[in-house]
């Protein structure tokens, strides 16, 4: 291996450089290019291989001394930047705090309309599209999410301070990553811990890499104003809304005739539905919502009939009760079962301990064809891929293209996921 000696020299140099990882990598890349060019030239002139390698390296001189030169140059630059950087960071944090308090009072799900974020805004592979109902700053959010979906290839972070690891990721995706030290210190989590992450074969997305770096430290992140802010998992909870319309078996009153077991008469189907509702929740309130739903299905199916029942469901059971409400709005028991299970699927498969039902801080509520989720970005990322997987695997099983088209035309809630 002709480059072996070069790599040795470069890693030695890198060791002496008192710089951030990204800068060290950049310097090594630049010098490697030079060394290889030089080697090529010397070889073309007929210089024996070993001699050429030695000559190329000699021209760089002592690794420690060279490292010292680079370090000094970069520290001068850093001092100049500090003032501007501190101001910028303070301003951005102040702005995001303001936004956070305005839209999202503590311990409460924010008003739906204000944070309706379309599921699939930043699917793997990009193509971000603006959400139809977008709160302030959402364009920035989807831009950041698109960058997080970028594949960054191999990662080799050994015994690196968290801040260096984050700086490296930040440079990879060209998004600022800040550490909310106050909240992390209050939670008595250490920011000084080192990161060890070696991924040699998988081509990770930046999101996956960020999760892999933060999870072992009990940290997570939020996206605010075009920045990524690293903080504790609890602090990082954010509300997002997922449009799951296309995962529902059928929408609208036309679904009325579709019974799960084919030719059951309407009445028995209804009672079966009610039984299911009761079983799922085991609460009086839930039964009430079942009744409301039955009424909806029997009388005027659709939105009008469903609305009162939905309110009852939401009020009585709260949380998951919203799922009952949703089914009612559409007036079909079958949908109730499907949507209930979607919230359940998420809560039981993705970070089970993070949901309020298990003593965590996250929550999940279904409202018509929207899933309102409050949890960490890590969980949001996992929900997105889960829904993506469900879309792919249910492609034919669900009612085909019809719902997708429908949500396209009706862009008033949020943009379509496809």
């Amino acid at each position: 291996m002709p480059e072996h000696d070069f790599e040795l020299y470069l890693s030695l140099l890198s060791r002496f450089l008192r710089l951030k990882l990204a800068q060290r990598v950049e310097i090594a890349d630049e010098l490697r290019d030079h060394l290889e060019e030089r080697l090529k030239e010397l070889a073309a002139r007929g210089v024996p291989h070993d001699e050429a390698i030695r000559a190329a390296l000699d021209e760089f001189g002592d690794a420690a001394e060279l490292a010292n030169h680079f370090t000094r140059v970069n520290h001068i630059r850093k001092r100049r930047l500090i003032m501007r950087y501190t101001f910028g960071t303070a301003a951005a944090l102040a702005a995001s705090l303001l936004l956070a308090t305005a839209f999202w009072p503590q311990g409460q799900v924010s008003p739906l309309a204000s944070r309706a974020i379309a599921q699939g805004v930043a699917k793997e592979g990009g193509k971000p599209t603006p959400a139809a109902v977008a709160p302030v700053g959402d364009k920035e959010r989807s831009a950041v999410e698109a960058k997080l979906a970028k594949r960054i290839g191999k990662i080799d972070l050994g015994d690196m301070p968290l801040s260096d690891a984050l700086e490296f990721l930040s440079d990879q995706i060209d998004v600022d990553i800040l550490i909310n030290r106050t909240s992390i210190q209050e939670a008595e989590l250490a920011t000084e811990k080192t990161v060890n992450l070696h991924v040699k074969r998988a081509n990770l997305t930046a999101r996956a890499a960020l999760d892999l770096v933060l999870e072992p430290l009990g940290l997570s992140y939020t996206i605010r104003d075009g920045l990524i802010v690293v903080t504790t998992a609890a602090e990082a909870n954010q509300v997002q809304v997922y449009n799951i319309r296309d995962l529902l078996p059928q929408t609208g009153a036309g679904a009325e005739g579709r019974a799960s077991n084919g030719d059951e008469p309407g009445g028995s189907r209804m009672s079966a539905m009610m039984g299911r509702g009761g079983k799922a929740r085991g609460k009086g309130g839930a039964m009430m919502s079942g009744m409301g739903m039955g009424g909806g299905a029997m009388g005027a199916p659709g939105m009008g009939g469903g609305a009162p029942g939905m309110m009852a469901g939401g009020g009585a059971a709260g949380g998951m009760g919203g799922g009952g409400g949703m089914g009612m709005g559409l007036g079909l028991g079958m949908i109730v079962r499907h949507t209930d299970s979607l919230a359940d699927v998420i809560a039981t498969t993705i970070e089970p301990g993070s949901w309020d039902s298990a003593g965590g801080t996250g929550s999940i509520v279904q409202y018509h064809e929207l899933l309102v989720v409050k949890n960490s970005q890590t969980v949001h990322g996992k929900i997105k891929s889960l829904l993506e997987m469900m879309r792919q695997s249910s492609g034919g099983a669900v009612t085909g293209g019809a719902p997708a088209r429908q949500s396209e035309t009706e862009g008033s809630v949020s943009e379509d996921a496809k």
């Binding site: 890349d29 630049e30 010098l31 290019d33 030079h34 001189g61 060279l66 140059v73 970069n74």
Partner: protein, 118 residues
Amino acid sequence: MTKFNPELMRGSLDLMVLSVLAGGRKYGYLLQQELRDASRGLVDVQAGTLYPLLHRLESDKLIRCKWDDSTGRRRKWYELTEPGRKRLSAQAREWHEYAECLRTMLAPILGPAPRPAT
């Protein structure tokens, strides 16, 4: 002719690098070669000197860099910035006068055939 003593070049190396970059963007290795060619082999900057110098000029915003793989290989390219161009023309004048001054001063010592300054 022997190569110039690095001590002698110390104050003017920045200027030489800027003047080579005035001819278009270059990556480090290419820049080193062109310095050598432009000086007919008299200026041979060691790689260990060149790269910290480039980083310093970049830090002073006289040049800027960009990674790019247009040559089929990902490389760090340097080019002159506007302040760099201004610095170059201001210092070129100054150095010219300096060299002229030195030449006149040293002329009696060298005798009838003084070597023109590069």
